[in-house]
């Protein structure tokens, strides 16, 4: 390299660094603003509305930053990795909590929640799933904010049509009504699958990336009495006979699904319902407001809702959705205090009532049980019901790794028709066993 060019390169680097240094962040004093990270969807808009009320009352501005669902976790995770303080709080997904706690990203809120009596204001199931880690430890890291679970929407016009009712009763020997067991649901799905009329029985989750498939399948899986682990064991549990049977059943349901739902999650479920192709769909309660909106759903007036049905032995479980509000541990103590003040304000029954009124799914016991809430929408009753039998996937730090083989083999079998249910569950059990042994969660 010539002398000339060496000088030149030094100049270039210098110029670059000079440019860069302009952007150094400015420190601030006095808490005038709180920033909350959440996914990009309507409940975040509702939270912003509640936040605006907080600003009106206290003068502290609340900013709800919305990140698309597809990158919500990635955004949060890289922020954790950088131990950044860009956000004060996050309304984090229930599955994240193990990782966030073990790696120290969330602030321990046990004393704060207990001493203020906030832990007693929310339903035990929501506190357990959104707030507590490890399970049963009595240590809390989040305030249950947006409760959610998988529920069902159905077309009342089809169910209440006299011809349908008579035909159904003649064929299955019982009246046509919203199903209480999975077997009934299957029959109804079969009954309404009429490709020539463009109507299909049931829409179920099948999406491959992230967790869509698992969140749909779990409703059947848990209700069949299967589980992701038992007594520290995975082999023989994940691939137990019940689990295999549950998977075969789920694939059976997929046979009655509208065409084009081979990679479907909440958005596609609403789409097939709105387009009149499905008699029933599963979906998170959070996505039901659109279905009672006549401007969005032509069948809004004739849409009914029911909670997840029971399995062959009477077990009834639905996949958990929803999020709790956590404080990130990398912010200054002043900001931590200010965040706690906000949660304290937000957790008041009066504020929770308004939260429910604008569209948030509150976890507050009194609000949930109030007549006003139960009758506010056609699905609130089913929601309050479902929140008593929710069940979640793993929430330990390795949940993402555990999801991956489940997603791949489940979609491979259900959608792609590869192999048998036994092989799929065997493969999942094997892969998850290995991951858990590697992580030291279970013994080899």
């Amino acid at each position: 390299m010539s002398k000339n060019s060496r000088w030149l390169s030094a100049l270039m680097i210098f110029a670059l660094l000079a440019l860069v240094s302009i952007n150094v962040a400015v420190a601030q004093d006095g808490i005038t603003e709180l920033t909350i990270l959440w996914a990009e969807w309507d409940p975040a808009n509702y939270l912003q509305q509640i936040g605006n009320e907080y600003e009106a009352e206290t003068g502290i501005k609340v900013n709800v930053i919305q990140e698309p669902w597809g990158s919500f976790y990635d955004r949060m995770a890289v922020e954790w990795a950088a131990q950044g303080d860009a956000y004060d709080m996050t309304v984090g997904d229930s599955q994240w909590i193990g990782q966030a706690v073990e790696q120290g990203h969330y602030l321990d809120l046990t004393d704060f929640l207990v001493s203020n009596g906030i832990d007693k204001t929310v339903t035990p199931a929501t506190l357990q799933y959104y707030g507590e880690y490890p399970a049963g430890s009595g240590k809390y890291y989040a305030y249950p904010t947006e409760g959610d679970a998988v529920g069902w929407a159905y077309r009342k016009d089809l169910f209440e049509d006299p011809q349908n009712m008579a035909d159904f009763e003649a064929k299955y020997g019982r009246p046509l009504q919203p199903p209480e067991t999975w077997a009934e649901l299957r029959d109804i799905a079969e009954f309404f699958t009429r490709p020539d009329d463009g109507i299909y029985g049931v829409g179920v989750y099948t999406q491959k990336d992230y967790d869509g498939m698992v969140m749909g399948f779990q409703n059947v899986f848990f209700s069949w009495g299967a589980d992701w682990s038992r007594d520290g064991q995975v082999m023989g549990v994940v691939n137990s006979p019940e689990a295999v049977e549950a998977l075969e059943f789920y694939k059976g349901l997929y046979q009655f699904a509208p065409p084009g739902t081979g990679n479907a999650f909440f958005a596609e479920m609403n789409d097939v319902f709105i387009s009149g192709q499905a008699a029933m769909i599963m979906n998170y309660f959070a996505f039901f407001p659109a279905l009672i909106n006549p401007g969005v759903n032509p069948y809004a007036e004739v849409t009914g809702f029911f909670p997840g049905p029971k399995g062959p032995n009477g077990d009834q479980f639905v996949s958990l959705g929803g999020q709790g509000l956590s404080i990130l541990s990398y912010i200054s103590p002043e900001r931590q205090e200010a965040s706690k003040e906000f949660i304290k304000w937000f957790a008041q029954e009066e504020v929770q009532r308004r939260w429910a009124a604008v569209g948030g799914y509150t976890c507050n016991i009194n609000v949930l049980e109030s007549e006003e809430f139960l009758t506010n929408t056609p699905y609130n009753a089913a929601f309050a019901d479902s929140m008593t039998f929710v069940k979640d996937f793993w929430n330990i730090p390795q949940f993402g790794e555990l999801l991956e083989p489940a997603q791949t083999y489940l979609t491979g079998f259900v959608v792609g028709g590869e192999g048998t249910a036994q092989e799929a569950m065997d493969n999942i059990a094997e892969a998850q066993h290995e991951i858990l042994v590697d992580a030291g969660v279970i013994d080899g």
Binding site: D42, P68, V272, P289, A290
Partner: protein, 329 residues
């Protein structure tokens, strides 16, 4: 006309052997018809996107797909505003009001009230700044390097060129984490500057290679003649080479702009609120109801228009081709 500038006498096209016969002329119109047919087929998805942008939510997913429907601006409204769902009583009360404009009316038909502008215009502006400036940089820097590689005897040129190319080979997904950490450390995470630098670098390899390809086609004799006449190398470059490489510059500009304009993975991971561009925002126009197809289509169309304008403006240069072959061996 460019051909005038070539030392080779201009070809009189009408004397060309293959153009005389009537058969050739028929072939020519057949060819035009085929091209137009292919173009039409290729444009069907774009046309469908345009239709979808004006559909209501139920029409967008109607079975069978609707070609005729009542157009609505719902999609554009979803894209450009934030809305809030109203309860039945609120709707009744709200619809009594007389001061509602057309946008409010559309929102109301879906039981919603507009609460403010969405962040889409801001993100579109970010895209314009970031893609625009980075394209200028990558073409300018690329042109200088390409000229050097094309004209000067640079030791290890082959290796250097390969190094430049190799910077494009690593899948971006895996580079995002180190780049994120680096940007974080020097404080250009989520800034326009950071994204401009990144896209410039991202496009440089392509720009150098492509421009070198074009410059190689321009005979050295031109500059050499000019330099014999007393031009300096720099003057020869500016006054002779630059005007003749406009085709290459136009093509490179269009490609760099398209890449930077549409880039998704880096934008998703390296920007948050301040410098986020439009591509990561468009697919996320999800309300509670799921995918707002009309809004996505509207966003994609609006996002397409600036690139189409630039391409149309540069069309003349793009399609002129390189006109120097005449004296090439």
């Amino acid at each position: 006309m460019a051909a005038q500038s070539t030392p080779h006498p201009e070809v009189n096209y009408s004397t060309r052997v293959d153009e005389i016969s009537g058969r050739a002329r028929t072939l020519n119109s057949v060819r035009a018809v085929i091209v137009i047919l292919i173009a039409l087929i290729m444009l069907i998805p774009v046309a469908w996107m345009t239709l979808t942008a004006f559909k209501s939510r139920p029409d967008a997913v109607a079975v069978p797909p609707k070609v005729l429907f009542e157009p609505t601006l719902e999609g554009f409204l979803s894209l450009l505003t934030d809305r809030r769902q109203l309860t039945a009583e609120q709707i009744a009360e709200y619809s009594q009001r007389t001061d509602l404009n057309w946008a409010d009316q559309i929102a109301l038909s879906r039981g919603q009230v507009i609460t403010g502008a969405s962040n889409y215009p801001q993100r579109l502006a970010n895209s314009l700044i970031i893609a625009g400036i980075s394209t200028i940089f990558s073409v300018a820097l690329g042109l200088l390097s390409a000229y050097s590689f094309s004209r000067f005897n640079i030791p290890g040129a082959g290796d250097l060129l390969f190094f430049i190319l190799s910077t494009r080979m690593l899948p971006p997904v895996v580079v995002t984490i180190p780049v994120f950490l680096m940007y974080r450390a020097i404080g250009i995470y989520d800034t326009h500057l950071g994204m401009i630098i990144l896209y410039t670098v991202f496009n440089l390899s392509f720009s150098v290679w492509l421009l070198k390809g074009f410059l190689d086609e321009i005979p050295r004799e031109y500059e050499e003649a000019a330099m014999v006449d007393g031009y300096t190398r720099l003057q020869a470059f500016i006054k002779i080479v630059l005007p003749q490489s406009l085709t290459g510059i136009a093509a490179t500009t269009v490609f760099c702009l398209i890449f930077a304009w549409n880039e998704y993975a880096f934008a998703l991971m390296l920007t948050a609120d301040r410098a986020r561009t439009a591509p990561p925002s468009i697919p996320s126009v999800l309300g509670t109801g799921g995918i707002e197809w009309a809004a996505i289509a509207a966003g994609s169309l609006g996002f397409l228009i600036p690139v189409v304008i630039v391409t149309f403006a540069l069309r003349k240069y793009l399609l002129r081709g390189v006109t120097f072959g005449a004296i090439r061996q």
